[in-house]
Symmetry: C2
Subunit: 461 residues, 2 copies
């Protein structure tokens, strides 16, 4: 269905060429890095200010037209797809750094700014924004999916690094959450409510983010292990020792092979940990020594240090390119990328059972992840022309989530729900899922904010 003509006229008057109903622009916003699919939105709007976002929300509310927010389109469970049509709000023109307060170690940014853009901006301040999901995602999208990634084990997730928000609610009202103080006990934690809400409660138009000091010293390494169990047990021991790892990533042999081929590396074809230490020169040396001892206890082989910045850059670029590398390892394949997060004590069992399950399926499915906080991914490579493979892969992903729940974990550590994981929410939350539905109804009674995602659909429609 197209948008109502009066609404289109009002939006066009407000936005001019920044409103598009063209097929190309609409099709662009029906694509995602997700295995789930939806049709294109009816129109795409690119606001430049909070006032414009508020006005658009008010107009859409009056016409009962849904709004789906769009950041960088890198989410993995269909979060940014307009499953009920309506308007997609693309934040690409709201991508400014509004303020940096180095003395308070925070900054204020617009939601369309990407994390790499922010860190380029910060480069000379001595500060950085640590949350690193791999993709160059938008910060609004990262907040909305409660993103984390390689550095969360040390610096926390978006939950920990968003201090405050400006949000446009369903009717167009603008609210602010949080302050610039490091903590508060003044009422419900609305910041935490909107972080991870995937745009279903309102549109994030401004973020106050915590920054961290660029570490004085950084050191990184890779080390191989005889088998996956040894590598995972090394991670568990490291975390339990309390070593303040900045990164501790796991790559299975299939991931290593794919990365070697894609990035021209020559890591031994064994389960690998990629680790990084941040601190004072003395502190980093001590951490590295302690980690080395733990790794040796677990039979590590082929410890390779990357102390020069360019070596570390090459290492983490290779890690960040793991997804395209794995995709390229099966020519013509598409991927179902899924993640779970388990208690650290259950990590070895979760990874091993998942590995065995994937192996039995016959589908290639490299495993890698941010194992320092119990979070790992499977990238299930399927032939897009073969529906049976897709069914097999989806069943694998579902079993992986169910296994995580059995082990005391969650169906997703960082990718979020979108509509891809909607069918698994009841199993994780039980009666609490309906509470999410009540909150959604209270804040968005007409189900116009990113509808079709996260909450029980029969409750809110």
């Amino acid at each position: 269905m197209a948008l109502p003509d009066p609404l289109l006229a009002e939006l066009a008057a407000l936005l001019g060429p920044r409103l598009s109903t063209g097929a190309a622009e609409r099709a662009l916003h029906a694509q995602s890095e997700s295995h789930v699919a939806a049709g294109p939105p009816d129109a795409v709007a690119c606001p430049q200010t909070t006032a414009e976002v508020a006005r658009i929300a008010a107009l859409c509310a009056a016409h009962r037209v849904p709004i789906t927010p769009w950041g960088a389109g890198t989410s993995l469970e269909g979060h940014a797809l307009a499953v009920r049509g309506g308007l997609t709000m693309d934040f690409r023109e709201m991508n400014r750094v509004l303020a940096v307060h180095p003395e308070d170690m925070l900054c204020v940014v617009q939601p369309g700014l990407t994390r790499e853009e922010l860190n380029r901006w910060l480069r000379d301040t001595g500060l950085f924004f640590p949350v690193d999901p791999g993709a160059n995602a938008s910060l609004g999208g990262m907040a909305s999916t409660r993103a984390s990634g390689t550095t969360a084990v040390r610096y926390g997730t978006m939950r920990d690094n968003v201090l405050g928000l400006e949000v446009v609610l369903a009717g167009g009202e603008v609210i602010r959450t949080g302050t610039r103080a490091p903590k508060s006990a003044a009422g419900y934690d609305l910041t935490a409510l909107f972080v991870g809400a995937e745009g279903t409660l309102g549109l994030v138009t401004e973020l106050t983010l915590r920054l961290h000091g660029q570490p004085e010293a950084v050191s990184a390494a890779t080390c191989g292990f005889a088998d996956m169990a040894a590598a995972v047990d090394c991670v568990i021991a490291t975390i339990q020792t309390g070593l303040p790892m900045a990164r501790i990533e796991f790559l299975d042999p299939a991931t290593v092979a794919a990365c070697n081929a894609y990035s021209g590396a020559d890591l031994p074809l064994a389960p690998q940990l990629m680790v990084e230490f941040h601190g004072t020169p003395q502190g980093v040396a001590e951490q590295a020594e302690r980690f080395g001892a733990i790794a040796a206890d677990h039979g590590s082989t082929g410890f390779v240090w990357a102390q020069a910045q360019e070596d570390r850059n090459r290492l983490w670029k290779m890690r960040h390119n793991a997804y395209p590398a794995i995709l390229a390892s099966r020519p013509g394949a598409t991927a179902i990328v899924t993640d779970v997060c388990v208690p650290i004590s259950a990590l070895a069992q979760a990874v091993e059972e998942t590995r065995a399950d994937i192996a039995a399926s016959g589908i290639p499915g490299p495993i890698l992840g941010h194992v320092g906080d119990g979070n790992f991914h499977a990238i299930l490579l399927i032939d897009p022309a073969d529906p049976a493979e897709k069914d097999l892969a989806k069943a694998l992903a579902t079993r992986m989530a169910e296994r995580s729940l059995r082990l005391g974990g969650t169906i997703t550590g960082e990718h979020g729900v979108g509509f891809g994981k909607l069918p698994l929410m009841a199993a994780e939350h039980g009666a609490a899922w309906a509470i999410m539905g009540h909150i959604k109804q209270a804040l968005d009674p007409h189900d116009l904010m990113n509808p079709g995602k996260l909450v029980p659909q029969e409750q809110v429609r």
Copy 2:
């Protein structure tokens, strides 16, 4: 008003002698460490299980009788007072450690357990629970007020250390939030919503808490400064340098004098910082050296180390007794204890303006606080027989909160809202306060869960 007879009969049948309508028990639950006052509840119930809490909530809901939760009665803004009468639910008989999972560094406890009891239980595990508001508060109460305290600068507040909850909702339904995985992106962060909700959305009946490794090495010190500005500037520089302080507390000269008199100490009568370092022996030595250099840059005098455990215990016991010490410094006085939290860059200005304002009032009002995260307290000592002093002190506290807002901070860093700070919520949150009201209405439509607190009262009654 008394509870309806049918309800009393049902509660008595359920609880036997654990239901009390006696004047003494009711009067006990009308007292608090707060400057705000309310009458006694109509009855006091002491449940022993979640099932009992759920049954009580269902019965009270059927009779539209409010429930006010009670932990240790140490909150400071009237949180646990039954301002609308009804039933006070005292959790003193739900005070067990249900499980400790050392391999996952977490534990599961009942809400009536106090933080000191938990840490005694954990002593031989190598782990500890760090959040330390001074008072030996109950963990359910600490979660509900989003408590923090001396160690939050390093280990975070209750926001960061509660991983999951079991909650009984207004109608008696039981939900669980969170998992044992270190992070999740699966839907709204209900854990964060109930932490800090002050019991207005439901009754916390179980908590999953993060634990931390007992540090290998600990070192503490006091150091004096020529004036308050120098001490506060030293704090700001320390935090901005990124030193991972475990504690960094500020005491003004009046607080020092009171502590000396009460605890038999002999700290120099100058603004003091009390600091603590946690880490490896080498790490602690390095931190201490770096802090020493920063303190020297700010003209510190009289650096006194407390390296032996018994010296540290004496030091922190003195700090924890600062409140009774200050109370004792003006015989017969009662106190209005208030807290604010500002961006670290505004700390010096906030403390100095507050000091000057208190000095001009003529009321004694020592200032102390967890300055590492911008959080400080004034303990305003008033003659309970002199209403004019109380009015003066309340006006001082209000101006302190308003000053905090002007400087980008919050009206309370850790004490919470209760009904003492209700009149200040609109100024901090603006339109967002009504969103809290909408959430309250959605989860507690008859306003039975700790009514009269936190949310806009005209909206929810």
